[in-house]
Symmetry: C2
Subunit: 341 residues, 2 copies
Amino acid sequence: MRQHLVPGELVCAQHFDWTDTAIPEPGDGEILVRTLCLSAGPAQRGYLTVGGKGKSGFLPGVSLGDVMRGRGVGVVERSRHPDFAAGDIFVGMLGWQDYSIQRPRADDFVFSGKKVLDPARPLTTELGIVGNAGVTAWFGLFDVARLRAGETVLISAAAGGVGSVAGQIARIRGATRVVGIAGTADKCRWLTDVLGFDAAINYRGDDVDARLRELFPRGVDIFFDNVGGQILDQGLMHLAPGARVVICGWISTDYSAAQLSGPANYRQLLYKRASMQGFVVFDYWSRYPEAERELKAWYRGGRLQNCEQVLDGLEQMPLALQNLFTGANRGIMNCRVAPDP
Amino acid sequence: MRQHLVPGELVCAQHFDWTDTAIPEPGDGEILVRTLCLSAGPAQRGYLTVGGKGKSGFLPGVSLGDVMRGRGVGVVERSRHPDFAAGDIFVGMLGWQDYSIQRPRADDFVFSGKKVLDPARPLTTELGIVGNAGVTAWFGLFDVARLRAGETVLISAAAGGVGSVAGQIARIRGATRVVGIAGTADKCRWLTDVLGFDAAINYRGDDVDARLRELFPRGVDIFFDNVGGQILDQGLMHLAPGARVVICGWISTDYSAAQLSGPANYRQLLYKRASMQGFVVFDYWSRYPEAERELKAWYRGGRLQNCEQVLDGLEQMPLALQNLFTGANRGIMNCRVAPDP
């Protein structure tokens, strides 16, 4: 990483340097992993923030000169760890680089990485639909919000990585109405025509409040919020009694961290006897297999669409990350670093 | 009621007229109740708001010329209802008047009233410590927030009606640290010296943030918030992982409803994997006996202090209500209308 971000600044190529170094040798208990693909996620912006301390609250920032942190899928090239062999597929914090030394630990595979048995194809899906994006949507809907069949679901940033999975799996689990909010008419069409959302609201063109009233005459049972700001406030006005609001992120406000505001309509939590709960998917690491098993079965059975965009080349990672904040992405944002073996 | 309140206006005597009318006769299924005491509660301000529609979200406003709504304890003077006899003690929506006709219904005693068997004494406690204030604190702490022994509790408006009970019963149920926030040094002393709070913070004199850091080194497990505004935001910054924030009201902001803001620090719900939930005690009406039984046993056993202030005379009701918004009250605010029989 070459330079930190200041509040309000858009992440771009100039924040990073690319350097050539020798391929490292694994020590005892370590493996050498070649990166095949990497994913971009909003939390990465936090790692880049001035001061070296992320706003994400659970991982520190990346220091200047260090390799940018990032999740990826790779193949084991050399192993000095008893549980790994050359050719194994590995998912973990590979960083924005072609090769990395990893030291897997069974007691926390989220951060130390793990072997992927029977991986889904292409391997980018292990970073998306059956990986972090999918698992985040799964725990947010089914554990935090406790979705029951017959309920109605509203998803903001629905054309984003987590949102585009959340809408699909809410439908599979029996939600009667799934509505997404997105920022272009194209994205809205994609949500309804490709991903099977019941309806989509274009927050840049539609009267959001009027559309919510029309689409949720009896209110929203689950509001899965990825954006914060005005859309969070608008959604709060349409809660059904006993609604659950899941706080997964606030991508609309991350970007202007200087003037933070809160949801004025939080009073609806009382009027509607509703709850608002935040979560961090990494807390669920010991239960990941439960979610991954179901997501993989749905994906392979054709019930779950692979809603990802893949840029080509490691050098595209800054753009991949930038896309999350300009709204240029549609679905999960990944980069291909080397071909799947 | 003579005139409505406008936003920002303090309720006072001029909003009401006092008129003399004949004592009414009960019809079939009705009882005539003589009011003995009445309670003041923040929700009553909502009934008084311009437009005849309260902000409380669950009861409509009171129309001009109608009797002001209010909860009270009375004695049955004449009965044409099979379950009631003269001399029975009755609690219900008696209104700000000496006599009222009531039509009790067993399927919703919160609004239609009920007979009080084995009432606590003085009867004002049936409106406070073992009545609505107590029951609100009980369900908020034990059902909404699911208090467990060994947890830490922060209560705002702790010297208010609900807060002063909440602190006491959190302690009885095994909270290890109970801290109240109040607006004067006198109230703070009352909380610690009389009601047994572990500590109290004077938000007008103390550095609230520094005190919270000092008093909750490992964070607040339950934040029982009655005030909203800045104190809600300050409390959010000190949550422990897995904390529960109970939204019971927002008396600090009710009063300037024109410029509503929300808790900017709601992002802490994600960082701390915490939840924020609103509730309305009336939803629990079928479970009231459970709470009342326990509160009464604690009160009679001397474990629960009767933290009420009683003004003398029906005509003091406007002042009793006003006190809630000027901070002049300490504990539960009641008026004595006639002596206990």
